[in-house]
Symmetry: C2
Subunit: 237 residues, 2 copies
């Protein structure tokens, strides 16, 4: 079995640990919740376990559709084994329905369907507040080559198609979501990080009830219950 060793770093939602295999990490999902660049903080009992399970199910779904990621397997209630990558410091956001900052940016009402998916890149920098950037900023920052960006965009749109269809069949609208990609030992662009109610907007397709972190951001209550509902609709427990 894989030996979990030194903690490499602790982020806002997860801890990353080395293992005795230099190409594998263990990710431990925490109950900590933060929003607005860390200004709002709380603990949500059971969130770490729910997100670990939901994320694992999504990565398994993507694998079954031929889309590889850093995910190797789930190890326990809070832990998964992943491949080590060098994270590209971009938050890659795909959107299907106007919400949050997009609704503000374009002046579209929240809930309005976009005629086609929107892909956005945010520079992953807590100091700068994760600013929206474009391809020419990315070239100047040197964080990804144009080829890597194309690869990321293609994968992000494919992931959107797979997740949208899968969730729609479970009466959930995939409003938008954030992905992170990394480079593996061979320099391949690999999906990493997590896919969970912390990083996606999920709405009940009938009632449009929010089943995601917006319940925490906007103080709507019943956060854990919403995350549980998502896990159940995905067939997990």
């Amino acid at each position: 079995m894989m030996e979990k060793r030194d903690m490499l770093y602790e982020g806002k939602a997860k801890k990353v640990f080395k293992t005795d295999d230099p190409n594998l990490y263990v990710i431990e999902y925490k109950d900590d919740a933060t929003a607005f660049n860390g200004q709002k903080r709380d603990q949500i009992a059971g969130k770490g376990e729910l997100n670990n399970k939901i994320s694992a199910l999504f990565f398994e779904l993507l694998r079954s559709k031929g889309l590889d990621s850093h995910y190797v397997k789930r190890l326990s209630d809070r832990e998964q084994l992943v491949r080590r990558v060098t994270i590209i410091p971009l938050e890659v956001v795909v959107r299907n329905i106007a919400a949050g900052s997009l609704a503000k940016r374009l002046g579209w009402e929240e809930g309005r369907e976009l005629p086609r998916p929107v892909v956005e890149f945010y520079y992953k920098s807590d100091e700068l507040g994760d600013p929206l950037i474009n391809e020419s900023h990315i070239a100047v920052l040197g964080v990804a080559t144009p080829e890597q960006l194309d690869d990321i965009t293609t994968q992000a749109l494919k992931i959107n198609e797979i997740l949208t269809a899968y969730l729609r069949a479970r009466n959930i609208l995939l409003v938008d979501f954030k992905l992170e990609f990394g480079l593996d030992a061979e320099g391949r662009v690999l999906l990493a990080d997590e896919i969970s109610p912390d990083t996606c907007r999920f709405w009940d397709a009938t009632t449009r009830e929010k089943l995601d972190k917006d319940r925490f951001r906007r103080d709507l209550g019943r956060v854990e219950e919403a995350y549980e509902e998502v896990l159940h609709r995905l067939g997990g427990q």
Copy 2:
């Protein structure tokens, strides 16, 4: 002679008039100065005349290098004759040196040279505060096709090369500038609006003294003198 007729609209810096030729407009440059989305306002005596002359010289320079624009000719101290276009509601910004919002966005100190030009698109909307947008937002808004965007980008980069070389020979650094494009009667993408110290950042190449609207924005004084200095270095009077 062209007959100047009804005013079509009045913007923050210019008035646009119809003529007896439906394909031609007269643009009249005003002395009004605004900044921060209209929050800061003043009059700068002589600015309209200076910007009209500077803009005309730049459009003539571009024409001599094979780059066509809406500019037909200068009619008077404050007026120029232009071709009517349907303005594409994008502010197209090209940057060579970090300054202003780019310095903030990327966390780069003002004055740092960019390894390559940055091209940005802002959605021209006073209500929304001219937000930065990317190609996928533009597709969703439907304000330009991908082909038109490529055309705009190619023209903007060529304009940057022509203006940078020309200004460098006059001891001025072209830090960044904003362009607007429109569609003419045949659907061609044509450079429009103005190119002036209101829409460019010009720095003296030796002293890095600001010779542009930042003198107004940042209350540095001697605004009119700076604009005059630019006109003189361009050989105008």
